[in-house]
Symmetry: C2
Subunit: 355 residues, 2 copies
């Protein structure tokens, strides 16, 4: 059996006993019933994911997957493609947005070249960089498929293997990405998986004006028309209209779920990766924490498909890299603290509410 | 001149030069324009508050003001009044919700007896407890004023003096409170200051049912009818329909603002304190960070009065104690990190967007 199929077989729903135990304790804490709302819901989820009412959340890592996109030739981004490798260097040297926010959250960062059109041999000694390169970017999806099915599998399995390796050292994963042009494949994936019209899902990416936005929508419609991905087949969607970093993220989520580790999913592109993972194995939903609501309009529908009506944060982020995931890791830590650090009515001898 | 008037004279608007310098740097960071949205807005505010593009945010404290309320005799709360002192002990011993969330955020906590109906002499050695008691709780505001104007001034000045003392050791303040019954005076203050009907502002507090909620609304309407507070006079509002912890919070905010320190304001009751501070000196608005949107329906209108249309978090919290403020301190730290830790396009040699 291949790594992908093997991993999917190791993904189970959250543990109901641990969820019940967590809920029972939270209902006895010295506060009005469920007064920390969504953070208490998250605490129950952490227990269910980890099968423990003392879920480990201390060691945190953001994995930022980087890839290039042939569709940039269609003029879908305001930034030139060479920004992808430039930002890989920036993240590796600690100067990007994700580095700042991960530092605040006490999370490590690694940037992964899974499909960038550049040679990073000079980064081989960097502690924040690893190479898992499958190809130097996708083909132009407005003219044909992004990659072969074989390469789509390779991208997902690279993400899985990385998660399995990192799961030996880390408790919580965060997804991130860097790839100029990658809101275009992500919008296309959102359209296929949610069934919503492209026009409702597509946003301004890094800052398109009205005319450029109209053009982007037309290109995405063409992408879908030309490639006709099968909405029920995650690898087919990824191969036809995806990206290497999106496949890597899907794999990372699958691998983390197979090890019962929470995965904090970042913004629009990361959520496209989560949708691919969800199509490959629906139980991954139980390990996904939606960090924030992106400015991109399709994000809401994508998150709803994952069962996440209320992401933790809504701060007008549209950066990616894993920045929303990093910031939300503070809330994951807070949820664990609520579960384990707060006294019950009995422990603290506090009177309860009238029934 | 009294401490209150002197302090109000020391509160100035945010510094425009520091704001401009911060904005100029943020616009050059290696990311799409303003891609970290609200966190970047907050970074500009921190610079304007502190007059520095390297605003200090490391040393953080949550001040949880505790007081009792005579109006509890009307049956406005599901919890008995003795829970106020019980929770003071719980916070002092580190077992309350605020302790857990403050620990996560790296913030210290102190609980202040400013008006609790209990003797805490056995807590005198506790590092997390201080006494600034003015009276053992308010009078029943459904029958007359909460306190004398002299005591209202004492409560505010106790908060100011505490902030001035703590400002020597701390960079960021968070407000919190504990006081069974205190959503009732807070709703009354919200009605007076926002001009909205009581019915639209009043919620279920720690968990009232429909009948109890109707009764609470009728009581708050009676509170306003009997006391007729002057909407333009902060001390008059506080004395007639407030609470000691609400006055202490107002003072804490004024004192922090006078020292140009950011104050992260917690939920419904803390925001009532902020409205009193705002009525005493409108410039305090420039130092207030609204941490979260409470479940209480009036909170939205109160925050809008403070110029805060979008609080940082919205997680269905309804606990108080400072819990929302503690969690939001992570975002304050993140804003500082974005301002100082992220490389500019020039520093990192990354290509910029087409104009």
């Amino acid at each position: 059996m291949n790594l992908l199929e093997q991993t999917c077989r190791e993904i189970f729903p959250q543990d109901n006993d641990a969820r019940s135990q967590a809920r029972a304790r939270l209902e006895q804490l010295t506060m009005p019933h469920w007064a920390l709302g969504d953070v208490m819901d998250l605490a129950v989820d952490l227990a269910g994911m980890s099968k423990s009412i003392e879920p480990a959340v201390e060691k945190k890592i953001i994995v930022t997957m980087a890839g290039d996109h042939g569709v940039v030739a269609e003029g879908v981004s305001k930034f030139p493609a060479e920004v992808t490798p430039q930002m890989v260097y920036n993240i590796a040297s600690g100067g990007a947005g994700i580095n700042a926010l991960a530092r605040q959250a006490g999370a490590d960062v690694i940037v992964v070249d899974i499909g960038v059109n550049a040679d990073f041999s000079d980064l081989s000694g960097s502690e924040r960089f690893i190479s898992r390169k499958i190809a130097p970017g996708t083909n132009n999806i407005a003219a044909g498929p992004a990659m072969s099915i074989a390469n789509a599998r390779k991208a997902v399995e690279a993400g899985i293997q990385l998660a399995l390796d990192l799961a030996q050292s880390y408790d919580v994963f965060g997804t991130g990405e860097m790839g100029i042009g990658n809101t275009t494949p992500s919008s296309a994936i959102a359209a296929v998986v949610t069934g919503k019209p492209v026009r409702e899902l597509t946003g301004r990416g890094t800052g398109l004006d009205d005319e450029q936005l109209g053009r982007k929508i037309a290109i995405i419609e063409k992408v879908l028309e030309i490639n006709k991905p099968d909405p029920q087949n995650g690898l087919d969607i990824l191969a036809k209209i995806g990206g290497y970093e999106i496949g890597g993220i899907a794999g990372l989520i699958l691998g983390a779920a197979a090890r019962r580790k929470p995965v904090v999913v970042d913004g629009f592109i990361s959520t496209a990766g989560a949708l691919i993972a969800f199509k490959l194995e629906p139980f991954v939903r139980d390990y996904i924490i939606c960090s924030h609501r992106s400015v991109e309009p399709g994000h809401k529908y994508m998150q709803e498909t994952l069962g996440c009506a209320r992401p933790l944060l809504d701060l007008n982020f549209r950066l990616g890299e894993g920045t929303g995931a990093a910031l939300a890791m503070n809330i994951v830590e807070a949820a664990r603290r609520v579960l384990t650090d707060v006294a019950t009515f009995a422990e603290a001898a506090v009177a309860q509410a009238d029934k």
